[in-house]
């Protein structure tokens, strides 16, 4: 229906502009398929070939990949929310209300951000379960399992810091209860609690601290640790499989 005339297509792919962007032909040959993957910064996290069973959805459940996907979705929706949200005692709650009532598509963005965050907690947990039951933590992947556990903890903390931001009753008391647990640390509990909250009880300072951690600190850390995680998957020989 919408066939591009062959000569136009030829002209386009032979143009110097096109060839400055893509250094390979249409990926229908093995060579071009390989080049397509490893000359592309986004795709080159992948190897050029994978073992066939690694494609099996019943094997990986795609959970690692989907965790990463949700992380990206959260980044996108989160940045959009940041355009309207001010992390102070006086504005935070009202800004969320405004997002819901006066910002076009604000409510759905907020919902997507919220549910994706819950979803990521679930997918990361399922991913850990599948990695364990398939024995994929065994040598040479020991260290990647450690990195993974770290990612799990970071995911939980990311979610938790975000929980305070709406500054409603749910947020305030969930975080009060949650941080009180940290305060139970023997000896240094009170000190940690103060550093975390920036005040003696949950207050505007806490809101700002959690905000900075939630939108900058923890995503950066998570990004770095994920980079290590993905790098190690390849260096450890790709997805695990039967010996």
């Amino acid at each position: 229906m919408l066939d591009i005339p062959a000569n136009v297509w030829q002209r386009v792919v032979k143009s110097s502009l096109w060839r400055s962007i893509f250094r390979h032909g249409y990926p229908d040959s093995r060579k071009n398929q390989s080049l397509a993957v490893f000359t592309n910064v986004f795709l080159h996290l992948h190897p050029v070939k994978v073992r066939r069973h690694a494609l099996a959805i019943p094997y990986t459940w795609c959970m690692g990949g989907l965790s990463f996907f949700l992380f990206l979705a959260l980044t996108l929706t989160g940045v959009l929310l940041m355009f309207y949200y001010r992390p102070t005692e006086n504005f935070a709650y009202q800004d969320i209300k405004d997002l819901e009532t006066v910002v076009v598509f604000g409510q759905i963005l907020r919902n997507m951000h919220r549910w994706a965050a819950h979803g990521m907690v679930i997918t990361v947990f399922l991913h850990m379960i599948r990695v364990f039951y398939t024995g994929s933590y065994k040598p040479p992947r020991e260290f990647n399992w450690v990195i993974g556990t770290l990612l799990w903890v970071i995911t939980l903390i990311l979610s938790f810091t975000g929980y305070l931001l709406p500054w409603d009753q749910l947020a305030l008391w969930a975080v009060t209860v949650g941080t009180n647990m940290v305060g139970a640390t023997p000896m240094i509990g009170g000190e940690i609690l103060y550093l975390l909250r920036g005040s003696l009880e949950v207050s505007g300072n806490t809101l700002l601290r959690f905000y900075v951690l939630h939108v900058v600190g923890l995503p950066l850390i998570a990004g770095f640790v994920m980079a290590i995680h993905f790098w190690r998957i390849r260096k450890d020989g790709g997805i695990s499989g039967p010996l």
């Binding site: 009180n180 009170g190 920036g198 009880e201 207050s203 505007g204 300072n205």
Partner: protein, 185 residues
């Protein structure tokens, strides 16, 4: 151990020197990291750090109770000794016995919920796990709370009541004792 060994020569002696250097580098890095950490966190209440601002909100410092002694005593008289609430300071002033007052931190000693005054039951009743505290002395009457509500020190000057609301230095007690309360003349 670190001095060059006179019995060894050449590579062996030099290796020791390398160890010294290595220790030095390691030490410097550790010291740097410690300083870096210290800069951010400070060291307890002794040393301030970046994340430990010198001044925060009103709560935690000395707060005026918002009522003078005479009015407070009148308040107790009119309300059958119901506690007087100060919201920014997060404390109640209670009336344990004649001519004594006491400021108590309204944070449940169990898991930190805000303890409200329950006028119907004539006692403090924590909503979270049901700890009960006495109307006059705030000692535990029931529930999981491990100890009575904590006491903030009170100073009275010319009828004005000032309460030191720092929860890290408040008085934690096991029972009521008149010493804990402040006398009003």
């Amino acid at each position: 151990m670190i001095r060059p060994d006179p019995h060894r020569e050449g590579v062996a002696a030099r290796l020791r020197r390398r160890q010294l250097l290595r220790l030095g580098v390691l030490g410097t890095v550790l010291l740097f990291l410690a300083e870096f950490g210290g800069f951010f966190t400070g060291l307890g209440t002794l040393l301030p750090g970046f994340f430990r601002p010198l001044k925060t909100e009103a709560f935690g410092g000395k707060i005026d109770a918002g009522i003078n002694v005479a009015d407070l005593m009148q308040f107790f008289k009119n309300n059958n000794d119901a506690p007087y609430l100060n919201t920014p300071g997060r404390f109640f002033i209670i009336h344990p016995e004649a001519n004594r007052i006491m400021a108590i931190y309204r944070k449940c000693t169990h898991l930190g919920c805000t303890v409200p005054w329950n006028a119907g039951e004539d006692q403090f009743h924590c909503p979270c796990h049901g700890s009960l505290y006495d109307k006059h002395t705030a000692v535990v009457k029931g529930g999981p709370a491990p100890r009575p509500l904590d006491v903030f020190p009170i100073t009275i000057q010319g009828g004005a009541i000032t309460v030191d609301t720092n929860p890290t230095t408040d008085l934690q007690r096991t029972h009521y004792d008149p010493q804990q309360a402040t006398a009003v003349s």
